[in-house]
Amino acid sequence: MENKIPEEFEVVYCKPSTLTDMPMHYCPGCGHGIVNKILMEVVEELNIQDKTIGVAPVGCSVFAYNYMNIDMQEAAHGRASAVATGIKRVLPDRYVFSYQGDGDLAAIGTSETIHTVNRGENILMIFINNAIYGMTGGQMAPTTLIGQVTSTSPYGREAAAIGNPLKITDMLAQLPGAYYVSRHSIHTSNAIRKLKKAITKSFEYQKEKKGTCFIEVVSNCPSGWKMTPLESMKWIEEHMFPIYPLGDLKIPKEESKVTKENPN
């Protein structure tokens, strides 16, 4: 359905054509909705809707295929990067991304995550770190903070009993197969703009077959955290950023040279 826009009006904001009209099921204020949208904005802007394939595994984003207007394959819990590998290996000229939660990518799918990046698969992996298992009702995740109360860490996470928050992104940045590794957030519109730039860059690198691009998004789960969306954004800043600081963890060698030699 095309709405005719009067000539004197200028469109400053609209939903990208790469998003469907299906109402999203995400809880109000959830970061998933934001990332789904900007990811599809990038696909529209780069004009790659016809050659992009997404893989969303079990987790709150399992229904991403209802919203993203591209070919999509739903994956078993933890296996998204293996599924994406399978697709990319037989269709190397397509753009392939996986979109995974922290339980998926850093617990049950740790092995697939590490080996996909280590092989330097030419895909984009988007990692939504909300420090909790959203879909199953707020259980502890590998990324849950020390002291954080969840339904399976009712007295707060204790390092002695269950270990520390897993900084898997830092680990992955060490692997030669990783080409671009960056941590972003959705807590302000400025942060969202930066995230969008990182996604755009990643698809451009993918075209050049440079290796794995990995973007962690420090996100929220108002329902699981039992907070209002606004409180959850504050909580991200105060509690998540000290453990998961924003910024690039690995940038392409060529670009780091350029920045050093020519700081402008």
Binding site: Q49, D50, K51, T52, I53, V55, V62, F63, Y65, N69, I70, D71, M72, Q73, E74, A75, A76, R79, A82, V83, A84, T85, G86, I87, R89, V90, L91, R94, Y95, S111, E112, I114, H115, R119
Partner: protein, 364 residues
């Protein structure tokens, strides 16, 4: 991909595993994903050696979990794909197989069965029959299961498996024991290029010029919808029944019918001969498709024979399907060994003689 290699189609001596791998290349598979495990590692080794030369994709995955999910991805992308493993590795693939069956993606999975349970032994066994024919993973689903009994069939059944998998949009499965994978026999390899691949309209290969996106999923939140999906699958499994294949050896005049598949059937061929030499009319029915199972043929023969002996290299798994088909029409007996041990033809023949004695059969 270059499906031909330098050699011609003359008969040659090959290991079962290698014949199967070469046949898969000739069947035009686009990619193979796998993980080493005895007694099937030659399959992965063959592909890592041949695929780069012949333009196909091969990835040694980090686990069988990863391998089957790479298969799921690549099959979903609309290409001809396979993986292989042996018993413990096949156990790891079960969740993925359930997803693949539900999403109705054609592909081939090969199990070169070794003795279990647990880490078990690397010797040949048929202990994974139930896992193969009853589904194996969670949910109501079936694989199309083919059971070769020679190196020739290890090669030929790759083509049959893909033909059926693509016809029914269902994962196909080759269930062979370790001996069939390891032994060398004469084989004439199937002709390359004789299995054309037809483009599909359901693949998640990028929208291209399509208006509608394709989605591959096995998630249905409404039970009404999930029931419809199940009804659809059951209808498909029913339609598959016409693909039943079996081999009959002297079954028409038999007093005693042996039922065995794979290597077990090879042993039983000798038992039939031993019997006939002593004027005991033994026949052999060899199921070639284990799913669908030749239950009608067994039911038909059950009326004519005096007793059935199921010979398996396990504790008795197929015997349940045989008993269901026989439905009390004649006695059903079982013999076999487990854990990688193989019955000799003489052992099986002795069992036949005991049955004749115990059941005081008056043979024609």
């Amino acid at each position: 991909m270059n499906q031909n290699n330098n050699s011609n189609n003359e008969p040659r001596l090959m290991k079962g595993n290698e014949a199967l791998a070469e046949a898969a290349i000739r069947a035009g598979i686009h990619a193979y994903f796998g993980y080493p495990i005895t007694p099937q590692s030659e399959i992965l080794e063959y592909f890592t050696r041949e695929m780069p030369k012949r333009g196909g994709v091969v990835v040694q995955a980090e686990s069988e979990l990863a391998a089957i999910n790479m298969v799921y991805g690549a099959a979903g992308a609309g290409t001809r794909i396979m993986t292989s493993s042996s018993s413990p590795g096949i156990s790891l693939m079960q969740e993925g197989l359930s997803y693949i069956a539900s999403a109705e993606l054609p592909c081939l999975v090969v199990n070169i069965n070794r003795g279990g349970p647990g880490l078990g032994t690397i010797q040949p066994s048929q202990s994974d029959y139930w896992q193969a024919v009853k589904g194996g993973g969670h949910g109501d689903y079936h694989l199309i299961v083919l059971a070769p009994a020679s190196v020739q069939e290890m090669a030929d059944f790759v083509f049959d498996a893909f033909r059926l998998a693509e016809k029914y949009r269902n994962p196909a499965f080759i269930l062979a024991d370790g001996a069939l994978g390891q032994m060398m026999e004469k084989v004439v390899l199937p002709e390359a290029g004789s299995l054309p691949y037809h483009e599909v309209n359901w693949a998640t290969s990028g929208m291209g010029k399509r208006k509608e996106r394709n989605i591959i999923t096995s998630l249905y939140m409404q039970p009404e919808e999930m029931e419809q999906v199940n009804l659809h699958l059951q209808k498909k499994y029913k339609a598959m029944q016409k693909e039943v294949r079996f081999e009959s050896i002297l079954t028409e005049d038999a007093d005693i019918l042996l039922v065995a598949y794979g290597l077990g059937a090879r042993i039983c061929q000798k038992v039939v001969e031993l019997g006939r030499e002593k004027d005991i009319k033994i026949g052999l029915l060899r199921p070639i498709t284990l799913y669908p199972f030749p239950k009608d043929e067994i039911a038909r023969l059950a009326i004519r024979v005096q007793s059935i002996l199921v010979v398996e290299m396990n504790a008795g798994q197929m015997v349940e399907d045989v008993s269901l088909a026989v439905n009390g029409r004649c006695p059903v007996n079982l013999t076999g060994r487990m854990g990688g041990m193989i019955s000799s033809p003489e052992e099986v023949f002795q069992k036949v003689e005991t049955i004749i004695e115990k059941q005081t059969l008056t043979l024609k």
